[in-house]
């Protein structure tokens, strides 16, 4: 063990410092055992983000493993930046959904915008051009004083980012419930298109390879963002505000074009976006997957601010950045591509055969950690849970018919926030850019053509939290099945799903019971329908002062329409046509 580690920042490990890093006392003990010495501040920061709920899935991983993730169409299941399914004739759909709940509550415009930016990076990282964005949004009671501000900020943030990048936002859902008054949900989904022989992965396979940083410069953005995303809110959360990140969709657009341009050559061995926990998790994951060590020289990292410490650079969540492992000798050609698009490009390190992640800054070793341990040592909790007692069934005949008559009731229903038209939302999204939107928002599922072909990709997202609250397992199934129905309704063959599991504090057994129930339900429905889960995201601790959100496992479904001429849509085409009701 190398114990020459010095920190440029003097510090003392206090209980507060450990707590501030979101680590429990026993987790810190475990860290000490792994390191065999006291960690430097940078090392403490690195472990804290890697072990955060957000990065490590420590509460949900045990149950996520029960989901069906394989199937005839699956090219890549969970475990990479996004899932991939085969569309035939050399085409693949790459997709994933991810939450940006906490940041969006604190700064709705930027929080939502950076959520969209992040999920698009997950998709184009794999070699896909993003072709459709969707989003699942939950807000509090419409009459709550904050709701209006949050809705308008989130919607314009999603539009502001997606419209500028030029990827159509074609679908999603918006709902209101007092249970989200203090914890809104912003789940963004992106679908991309790739050629099956041009898919890129994140494993840094090979020793002595250049580690390359591209995109925007690093600033002190969102330091601790990843741990914040897993910490409960309290009334003092206003104080955490400066960790908000600002998105730069213009740079993202350039980054997409530059990455896709370089991907057309054979220069890239591995690539990964710097999402939550930025440089830390991208380097750790790439090195771990490749079975190599990695050396970083932070002096080479493009910096936006002066005097940044190693700690800050390793934890920064500055947006619009990517990390690549290049084939030796291709640096100059790669650099030319990024310079053409006015993006930063820097070789910041090298892969090694030491199996260690060694971070140096200003001539000092700031972190020296075994890669495999760092990437795989996160605690795994099988948290106690209590099965949820399903709510009593209510039979229709128990509900008295309304006095007012059907028509006024229908009008009232259509005017409620739950059912009212969402046109106000999707008209703020450019849903037609790229010229392939053949079914616009407002129907059961959106459809975009596979560019230059007659194939269509159908996508939708759904969940009804009320059902999940009443019976997590049934509610989980219902959400999966609803996406299935929506895809079939436009004439698509459903292929696979992504999910975004939004819940309260998993350390409470009744919440854990909801999580377990919902995952069981989702798993069963997906297995039965041969409709595998290829990617997803978990967002826990969505609660304030001990009150959790309604359980909200959002499901994003993707299907294939072999010939868009045969697509179906909701609009009634002609007068005098027959209406048929099928099903029970």
């Amino acid at each position: 063990m190398n114990d020459a580690t010095e920190s440029t920042v003097p510090f003392e490990v206090t209980d507060e410092l450990i707590a501030e890093h979101g680590l429990k006392p026993d987790e810190y003990t475990r860290l000490l055992e792994i390191m065999g010495r006291q960690p430097s501040l940078t090392e403490l920061g690195i472990f804290s983000v890697m072990w955060s709920e957000h990065c490590s899935y420590k509460s949900s991983r045990f149950w996520l493993k029960t989901l069906p993730t394989s199937g005839a169409c699956v090219i890549q299941g969970p475990g990479e930046n996004a899932g991939i399914v085969d569309l035939g004739e050399g085409w693949a759909a790459v997709f994933k959904m991810e939450s940006h709940n906490h940041p969006s509550y604190i700064e709705p415009y930027q929080g939502a915008a950076t959520g969209v930016g992040g999920i698009m990076r997950d998709v184009f990282t794999m070699g896909a051009r993003p072709v459709a964005n969707l989003n699942a949004l939950r807000f509090g009671d419409p009459s709550h004083p904050k709701t209006r501000h949050l809705v308008s900020g989130v919607v314009s943030g999603i539009g502001g980012y997606g419209n500028c990048v030029g990827v159509p936002t074609v679908g999603g859902e918006v709902n209101f419930d007092a249970g989200y008054n203090n914890n809104i949900l912003v789940n963004a989904m992106c679908v991309g298109l790739a050629r099956t022989d041009k898919i890129f992965y994140s494993a840094a396979k090979g020793v002595g390879l250049p580690v390359v940083y591209v995109g925007s410069k690093t600033g002190r953005d969102g330091i601790h963002g990843a741990t914040m995303a897993s910490a409960e809110f309290d009334d003092k959360s206003d104080e955490k505000r400066p960790t908000v990140q600002v998105g730069d969709p213009f740079t993202e657009k350039l980054l997409i074009e530059a990455c896709l341009e370089l991907m057309a050559s054979d220069a890239i061995i591995a690539i990964q976006d710097m999402g939550a926990a930025g440089l830390t998790s991208s380097t750790a994951e790439m090195a771990d997957k490749g079975g190599v060590g990695i050396e970083l020289n932070l002096d080479q990292v493009p910096q936006r601010e002066t005097g940044m410490t190693a700690y800050e650079m390793m934890l920064s969540e500055s947006q619009e950045r990517m990390l690549m492992i290049l084939r030796p000798g291709s640096e100059a050609a790669a650099e030319a591509v990024f310079r053409k698009w006015d993006l930063d490009f820097a070789v910041i390190g090298r892969t090694t055969d030491t199996g260690r992640m060694i971070v140096t800054h200003k001539g000092k070793v700031e972190a020296d950690i075994p890669v495999a341990t760092l990437a795989n040592s996160a605690p795994l909790y099988e948290r106690p849970w209590v099965p949820h007692e399903p709510a009593k069934v209510i039979l229709p005949q128990w509900v008295p018919p309304p006095d007012a008559g059907i028509l006024p009731c229908l009008k009232t229903l259509m005017g409620t926030p739950a059912l009212a038209s969402r046109r106000w939302v999707w008209e703020q999204y450019d849903h037609m850019v790229m010229g392939d939107t053949v079914q616009r928002p407002g129907g059961d599922a959106a459809v975009v053509r596979v560019h230059g072909t007659q194939k269509g990709i159908a996508a939708c997202c759904d969940v009804t939290p009320r059902y999940v609250a009443a019976d997590p397992e049934m509610g989980g199934k219902q959400a999966v099945v609803e996406t299935w129905r929506n895809l079939t309704a436009v004439g698509a063959d459903p292929l696979a799903v992504t999910d975004n599991l939004n819940f309260g504090n998993p350390e409470r057994p009744e919440i854990m019971g909801q999580i377990v129930g919902a995952i069981k339900g989702i798993g069963e429905a997906c297995r039965t329908l041969d409709y595998p889960v290829v990617s997803g995201n978990v967002s826990l601790y969505n609660e304030t002062n001990g009150v959790g959100i309604p359980p909200t496992p959002a499901i994003g479904g993707v299907g294939l329409i072999p010939d868009v001429q045969k697509m179906a849509s909701v609009d009634l085409k002609r007068e005098g046509e027959l209406l048929v009701l099928i099903g029970e």
């Binding site: 419209n163 030029g166 969709p249 213009f250 657009k253 999204y429 850019v433 010229g435 053949v438």
Partner: protein
Amino acid sequence: MIRSAVIVFPGSNCDRDVKVALEAITGFPARMVWHGESEIPACDLIVLPGGFSYGDYLRCGAMAAHSPIMRDVVAKAKAGTPLLGICNGFQILLETGLLPGALMRNASLRFICRDAFLRCETKDTFFTRCNRVGEVLRMPVAHHDGNYFADEDTLDRLEEDGRVVFRYCDADGAVTEAANPNGSQRNIAGITDSTGRILGLMPHPERLFEPQLGGTDGRRIFESAVVSIAEAMVG
């Protein structure tokens, strides 16, 4: 052979859409020209596409108007090469001064993406010769800054010279306030220069040029251009 060129700025995002429409309608490949080039190869039509050049930062179109390629765009347009600016392209045309006025933030302050109806006000331009005056076309708008502004004198002059090409209207062709999606003065959706060869418009004709996309009204602008080009070739 019809040679069209689409200028690509950093942040353009309707460049491919326009290329696809141009190629489908003219039957010939369209050339993409990077903003950093200094010259556009000789061509019969130049298009400045929609998008968010330079992120729409500072003012929409302001930075793109200073791109190296714009010197040649302006020179060629002044020498008679037809020039079409769509959405962000229209904003760029105003920033270069090739067309008068400015596009301000939408009156609602919101980005708006939906079909709009346009009344064609003149057929005496390169891009509308196949239209009827008073004809109603359906075309999508998708913008945050499409609120056309010019001072009263300029507006009067544009009207007198027949340079207002399209106005927002309802499905029946009535030019009403309710049909105005963005607060544009006098419901103006598109204007031309005095020669009728430079057209700037906010709606996107390339988004409705084939039945699968939901309509074909957008074709008309490109078809007029094709007829005009063919006629110029015949002489």
